[in-house]
């Protein structure tokens, strides 16, 4: 699916240069479920942003589906991103002014899909994540777990091959957190590649492999058998 080769990311201000990622080499196969762990400031989010093509590496190669996208301009990245990658955030990032339905539809809006097909796909995915009865509600009327389910629906409605989840359970209580994890697991079972940043070892256990980051380096990679 993707391969990071000697990839580094620096942030420069006038006086200091901060190294966020230092010479990282990671390979993720299609259909994998990978958890990224590590303490705050270790570069997890930076890594996820680069993988998600929201940010560009300072050095090194990023080969995504056989293509080195490291030097691509934003418009090209945006195109690859919207075809292949779905995002789930800790803070859900739903648009407050749009209904559940419209929030999910947003992911299809920029894909040149006819309105009827969009409605169909949104309805289907809402069923799948069990939010159909809340279709006309605004995000502020939902609980956190429900909001995150909407976000998950939005991430997968475009049939994205890979989902990047940045602490998807961070704002949820344990019951809701587990609910979301199970949803991700079943998506993975259907073939979606999932890369998830998490602080929770318990939730990391849902993944097949855990990558531990520390100060911008990959420290260990744990493989575990399928749960």
């Amino acid at each position: 699916m993707l391969k990071l080769h000697n990839l580094s990311k620096y942030y420069r201000t006038d006086e200091v240069e901060t190294v966020a990622l230092d010479n990282v080499n990671i390979e993720i196969e299609s259909g994998e479920f990978v958890a990224i762990m590590g303490p705050s400031g270790c570069g997890k989010s930076t890594l996820l942003n680069i993988v998600g093509m929201l940010d560009s590496p300072s050095e090194g190669d990023y080969i995504f589906m056989g293509e080195n996208v490291a030097g691509y301009p934003e418009s090209k990245l945006s195109n690859i991103r919207k075809q292949n990658i779905g995002f789930i955030f800790q803070s859900f990032n739903l648009i407050d002014e749009l209904t559940v339905e419209e929030n999910i539809e947003l992911a299809l809006l920029y894909h040149n899909i006819p309105a009827s097909e969009r409605r169909e796909r949104v309805a289907k995915v809402m069923d799948k994540v069990g939010i159909a009865h809340r279709a006309k509600h605004m995000p502020s009327q939902l609980s956190g777990g429900q909001q995150q389910r909407v976000a998950v629906a939005r991430a997968v409605v475009g049939d994205q091959a890979m989902i990047l989840a940045d602490e998807p359970t961070g704002n949820l209580d344990s019951a809701h957190g587990q609910e979301v994890m199970e949803m991700l697991q079943s998506l993975n079972a259907e073939g979606t590649t999932i890369v998830m940043v998490t602080h929770s070892p318990a939730h990391a256990d849902y993944a097949r492999r855990t990558i531990n980051l520390f100060d911008g380096h990959v420290v260990t990679e744990d493989l575990r058998a399928a749960v």
Binding site: S75, I95, E97, Y110
Partner: protein, 810 residues
């Protein structure tokens, strides 16, 4: 507490520099325009305060019958002969005086000057308390006396000392009659109607007794029931405790008793007009409410500026909901919060006022200099009004946002942070709409006016205007006797194509008319016919085409002026032939009609019919014209080949000096005659354009601020959309659309409004532009595209930002 409010207000202004800057600049521009407009209108409407009797002085205006068809509705004067009846008809008056302006060649020593002199009745000095340097108010009692202003005395007699010993010095008019200086007065200020800058009239510099005109040009005002010339006013001095209604009644009675019956059809009423309005009478006369429009436009610009502030402050304050919630939690009352927010808007208004005053200090002198006005900003006098305006602006524009922000409960404002409310506001949409209604309305008016003016400008092409030199003031005996010689000499010059003498040139706004009738027995068949006295070369010089019959000819005696003849051959234009009842120009040839006089009629036989040329040009209809040959004309036209113009001019002047050595040549190009009038149309257009540009700029500045603010508020949403795959153009479109709706609604209101209002201007013209609706649509499109452009400018920057930055600190 107040200090605390002010501190917080100032900190807030400093914190949000971009918005504060936009707010302050917007209000400053609005206030500048408003104060300037008000001061200017006040200035124009309050001329003549210089005179002690101003409140008791009136002028007599003539109201023309709508059927008069002379292009103006009222004149600021009436027939001089009517003045003879005022003393008996209105016995309560303390004094009356008429003015007749007449230009003469003034000879002082060896120097000649063309000088306009105001001839007036002796009571003039009772009505107006002139400031005598030497001499006194009795100066005009002697018919051979003359009063100079200081600057005239200095100009004619050489130096400043000349003023004191000017008395007794003589000047010679047209080489015939001398007048003796009896007094010198201080120059009248520019803000008297005598020196008004509204019309390009000459300043009042020389005053002479009306009775002198009898000798000079055989003019007797008592017999003058024929001339109305704007600016030749008739002044009345009413007693100190007069009742205006009584004066009006006695004036109406005098009119009834003494106005000739046939003139009553033309001038249906004479009216008293206070002297203070004499300055703006011109605009009333032509029926364009220019002065009032300035007031209204100035207020509209201020409204746009206030709405700007309100809009931006509302949006901004929503971002401060958390602060308000916290303050309320800590015990601040609603009243205190209101005061806090209003203090802020008052401070902004005050800063804006200070900037406006600085701007005015710079604008007013520049304005005065370029337009010859003496508008002054009397700070002390307008201070209460300025303070009131500023407070009103501060409260009105700051009131709504303050009300809105303090209305919410503390819990709501803490919880809600900066969401929802800031974005969706019907009131805000209405306010954006209002701004654009005003801006687009003005823009549409400017454009309609511009295109109409362009059309007016085309009337310059009715005649070979750029090839014609106009020789002026030929109706002096000594010159009139030489016109044939002058023509013969001029026509021999290599580049002179033609020479013609006539009573007025095209574009001069004079209406000389008589009552024409094909059948003198049938009074109903009579109509007002314009007259132009011409000579045999008129048609060829001005390119007026003959449609039927023949041109007038020197060979045929009755074509020219014949002493005592009861019948004369004339040319008429097509319209005149039609109004006389002829089916076609051809059938009119050889037919006669009559010029109806008081006691006798003159028979006029049509020998030729010419095409309908609009002699008066500009806004006028084509009028029925009779052209008859006369001698002793007022003006001459010299048509030249447009090569080596400089040389041709020198040659013409050399010929003149040889033939008429006693009078310097006075001439101008026909273009200049046109330009003298056209400048009025253009000035109105430029003034309105300035207002429109300001209103539109203000609306755009406000929109920019609001767009910037809204984009900031929507940063998160934009970030999400971008992650979902929205492209930069898609995000820009989203942001633009947010502001498009109110602007598009504004179109729906502004365009019909403009469509109806522009008729105010267009009705003034007989030849109007087609498709004003199209022009108005274009104005609307300009407004919308400008709005889009300004929003896109900022939206593009926002849309290009990395979405991660937007979401990172959520």
């Amino acid at each position: 507490m107040l200090k605390n409010y002010i501190t917080i207000a100032l900190r807030n202004i400093l914190k949000n520099r971009l918005y504060a800057f936009i707010n302050i600049i917007g209000l400053a521009i609005g206030l500048t325009v408003y104060v300037f407009g008000s001061v200017l209108v006040d200035y124009e409407k309050n001329h003549d305060q210089y005179f002690a009797n101003t409140d008791r002085i009136y002028t007599i205006n003539s109201i023309f019958s709508p059927a008069a068809n002379i292009g103006i509705k009222r004149a600021d004067t009436t027939y001089a002969a009517f003045g003879e009846f005022l003393k008996t008809g209105m016995p309560q008056l303390e004094a009356t005086a008429r003015i007749k302006r007449q230009e003469f060649l003034v000879t002082i020593g060896d120097d000649d000057y063309y000088q306009e002199i105001r001839f007036t009745d002796p009571d003039f000095t009772k009505i107006f308390d002139l400031d005598y340097i030497v001499g006194d108010a009795s100066a005009l009692d002697d018919p051979s006396s003359v009063i100079f202003t200081r600057s005239a005395a200095e100009k004619f007699f050489g130096d400043a000392n000349a003023v004191n010993d000017a008395i007794g010095r003589t000047i010679l008019l047209d080489h015939q009659n001398s007048l003796t200086v009896a007094a010198v007065v201080e120059d009248l200020p520019a803000n008297t109607h005598f020196n008004s800058s509204v019309l390009g009239e000459d300043d009042m510099t020389v005053l002479a007794p009306m009775s002198a005109l009898k000798q000079l040009i055989d003019y007797d005002p008592a017999l003058d029931w024929g001339n109305i010339s704007l600016g030749n006013r008739m002044y009345l001095l009413a007693p100190a405790n007069h009742v205006v209604a009584e004066l009006e009644t006695s004036l109406a009675v005098t009119y009834e008793q003494h106005f000739p019956e046939d003139q009553k059809e033309f001038i249906i009423e004479v009216k008293l007009e206070p002297l203070t309005q004499a300055n703006t009478a011109f605009w009333d006369g032509i029926g364009l409410p220019v002065i009032d429009s300035i007031s209204i436009l100035a207020v509209l610009v201020l409204v746009v500026a206030c709405v700007n502030y309100t809009n931006l402050a509302t949006a901004q304050n929503m971002g401060r909901a958390r602060e308000v919630g916290l303050r309320r939690t800590l015990g601040a009352g609603r009243r205190q919060l209101l005061i806090q927010f209003l203090t802020e808007s008052l401070i902004v208004a005050l800063i804006a006022l200070l900037i406006a005053l600085v701007l005015l200090e710079w604008i007013i002198p520049f304005f005065n200099q370029s337009l010859g006005k003496v508008v002054a900003l009397d700070h002390l006098a307008i201070l209460p009004w300025l303070a009131l305006t500023t407070v009103a602006v501060g409260l009105i524009s700051g009131g709504y946002p303050a009300y809105l922000i303090t209305r919410t409960t503390p819990i709501d404002s803490l919880k809600d942070g900066n969401s929802g409310g800031a974005r969706k506001s019907l009131v805000r949409a209405i306010m954006i709409g209002l701004q654009f209604v005003i801006a687009i309305f003005m823009l549409a008016m400017v454009m309609v006016m511009y295109f109409q003016n362009q059309k007016v400008k085309q009337t310059i092409d009715l005649f070979p205007t750029d090839q014609i030199l106009v020789l002026e003031r030929l109706d002096v005996d000594e010159i009139a006797q030489q016109t044939e010689t002058l023509r013969n000499e001029l026509i021999r010059l290599p580049n002179v194509e033609n020479v013609s003498f006539m009573s007025q040139v095209p574009f001069e706004q004079n209406n000389s008319s008589f009552e024409a009738n094909i059948n003198p027995g049938d009074e109903a068949a009579g109509f007002s016919m314009n007259r132009l006295a011409i000579d045999y070369e008129f048609l060829s010089t001005l390119d007026v085409a003959l449609i039927a019959g023949r041109n007038v000819s020197r060979e045929i005696a009755l074509d020219g002026p014949v002493e005592g003849a009861e019948q004369t051959n004339v040319l008429v234009n097509e319209l005149a032939a039609e109004k006389l009842g002829f089916a076609s120009p051809e059938t009119a040839i050889g037919q006669s009609f009559y010029q109806i006089g008081d006691d006798s009629s003159r028979q006029l036989t049509i020998v030729g019919v010419v095409e309908n040329q609009n002699i008066l040009g500009f806004h006028n209809n084509v009028k029925p014209f009779t052209f008859n040959v006369q001698s002793g004309q007022r003006v001459g036209t010299v048509r030249f080949t447009p090569i080596g113009v400089q040389q041709t001019l020198q040659d013409i002047e050399a010929v003149w000096d040889r033939v008429i050595p006693n009078y310097p040549m006075q001439s101008k190009f026909l273009d200049e005659t046109f330009e003298d009038v056209y400048t009025i149309y253009r000035s109105i257009n430029i003034a309105l354009a300035a207002f429109a540009v300001l209103a539109l700029s203000l609306a755009l500045i406000g929109l920019f601020g609001l767009a910037a603010f809204m984009a900031e508020q929507r940063t998160k949403e934009i970030g999400i959309r971008k992650i979902m795959g929205a492209s930069v153009p898609q995000v820009v479109r989203l942001l633009i659309w947010q502001f498009s709706k109110p602007v598009l609604w504004a179109l729906l209101v502004a365009l019909p409004l403009a469509y109806f209002s522009m008729n105010l201007y267009l009705n003034f013209f007989s030849d109007r532009i087609g498709l004003p609706a199209g022009i108005i649509m274009i104005a609307g499109m300009i407004g919308v595209i400008a709005a889009w452009g300004i929003v896109a400018m900022h939206a593009a920057a926002v849309a290009r930002a990395n979405p991660i930055n937007a979401l990172r600190y959520e």
